[in-house]
Amino acid sequence: MLKHLTILNDHNLPYPDTIHPIVVHFVIAMVLFAVCCDLIGYIAGKTEFFEVSWWNMFVATVAIFVAIIFGQFEAGLAKPYDLAKSALNYHTLIGWSLSGLIAAITAWRYVLRSRDPQKLPFHYVAVGLLLVGLVGVQVYLGDQLVWVYGLHTVPVVEAVKEGILP
C-alpha cells in the first residue's frame, strides 16, 4: 500500500490531480464572502449577515490548515525550477502567515460574537478589508505558480525531468 503512494504520475503526484487548489476554494470563497456579509451588515444595518459572516470565517479557519498540509506536500513534489522559486517562497510565507491571521481574526470574532452577535466594531471590518487584500496577493502568487510557471502541469514536469528548465 505504501508502495502505491510512492509511484508518481506525469504530474509528479501520487494521486491524479493537485488537491491544494481545490481546498483553497474554502478559504478564498469563505473569507471574501464573510467580509462581504460584514459590509452588508455594517453599512446596511442588516445584522443577520453577521452570523453568516462568522460561520464562513469558521470554515475558512479550518480549511486553511488543510490547504497548508496539501500545499506543503505538493510544493515538496513540485520541483520548482529557479525562475519559480521566488513566487513559491512568497506564497509559502504568506500562506503560513494567513493561517495565523485568519485563526486570530476568527478568535477575535468569537469573542465579539459572545458579547453581542448584533454588533461589530469598525476596527474588525477594517481588518477584514486588509485580510481581503492579503488573500488577493496570495491568490495572485498561487495563480503565478500554476498559470505562469506551470508547476505540476505535464509539459513542465516533463521538461524538469529532462533538465531543460532554467
Binding site: 481545490i22 470563497a29 470554515v59 491568490v139 505562469v148 506551470g150 513542465v156
Partner: protein
C-alpha cells in the same frame, strides 16, 4: 479556436493566449464551488442539528438552528450570482484557447472533447445552481417558512449529487490546465520551443 479566427478579434495576446497574465475563470471557480458546497453543507448541518448539539456545546459554540439555514441560503444566492461571471469568463477564455491537438488527458479524451464537455457542463451547472437557489428560496420563504427544518431531504440529495457533477466537471477543467496546458505561459513557451527565461522574464 483556430488562430486565424482568434486574430479576427484584433487583441494583443501574450504567450498564454490571453490579453492578460492570469486566467480569470479559474479564480471565479473558487467562489462558485466554495459558496455552493459550504451552502449545502450548512443546510445538512442544520437538518442534523438535534444530533450535533453536544458537539457545539463541547466546543463552547452558541448555535441557533435558523442561523445555520441563513448560511445555507445566502451562500447559495452568492454562488448563483457569481457563477454567471464564472461561465462568461470561462467561455471567453475557451474561445481563445489553442490546446495542443495531439495529446490525451488522463481520462483518454482529447483537448476538443474535454473543452466541449467542460463548456456544456458549465452551462448545465449554472442552470442547476440557479434552479437550486430558487428552490432554496421557495423553501425558505414559502413552503418551509415556519418549519424547524428549512430544507427538504430531496434538496440535500440534489445538492450532494450536484457536488459530484462538480467534481467530474472540475476534473475536466483541471485537465485542460494541467494536461493540455491551456492558457499556461510556461507550457505554451515549451510547446513553441521558446526560451523560458526570456519568455517568463518579461511576461510578468
Amino acid at each position: 479556436m483556430n488562430s486565424q479566427l482568434i486574430e479576427q478579434l484584433n487583441i494583443h495576446l501574450g504567450a498564454n493566449g490571453l490579453p492578460y497574465n492570469i486566467p480569470i475563470h479559474p479564480n471565479l471557480v473558487h467562489l462558485t464551488l466554495g459558496l455552493f458546497i459550504i451552502g449545502v453543507t450548512f443546510d445538512i448541518v442544520g437538518v442534523f442539528f438535534p444530533w450535533e448539539k453536544w458537539a457545539f456545546k463541547f466546543l463552547a459554540l452558541s448555535v441557533e438552528r435558523a442561523r445555520l439555514f441563513d448560511v445555507g441560503w445566502y451562500n447559495m444566492v452568492a454562488s448563483a450570482t457569481i457563477t454567471f461571471f464564472t461561465v462568461a469568463a470561462g467561455f471567453y477564455e475557451m474561445f481563445l484557447a489553442t490546446p495542443a491537438p495531439n495529446t490525451k488527458s488522463a481520462w483518454g479524451l482529447q483537448a476538443m472533447e474535454t473543452m466541449m464537455w467542460h463548456g456544456i457542463g458549465g452551462l448545465i451547472l449554472l442552470a442547476l445552481i440557479v434552479a437550486m437557489t430558487f428552490w432554496r428560496g421557495w423553501q425558505r420563504y414559502v413552503s418551509c417558512k415556519n418549519a424547524d427544518k428549512q430544507v427538504k431531504w430531496n434538496y440535500l440529495v440534489a445538492g450532494v449529487t450536484i457536488m459530484f457533477l462538480m467534481y467530474i466537471h472540475g476534473t475536466l477543467g483541471a485537465q485542460l490546465a494541467a494536461d493540455f496546458g491551456v492558457h499556461n505561459t510556461a507550457d505554451s513557451l515549451l510547446q513553441m520551443g521558446q526560451d523560458l527565461k526570456a519568455g517568463l522574464g518579461d511576461g510578468n
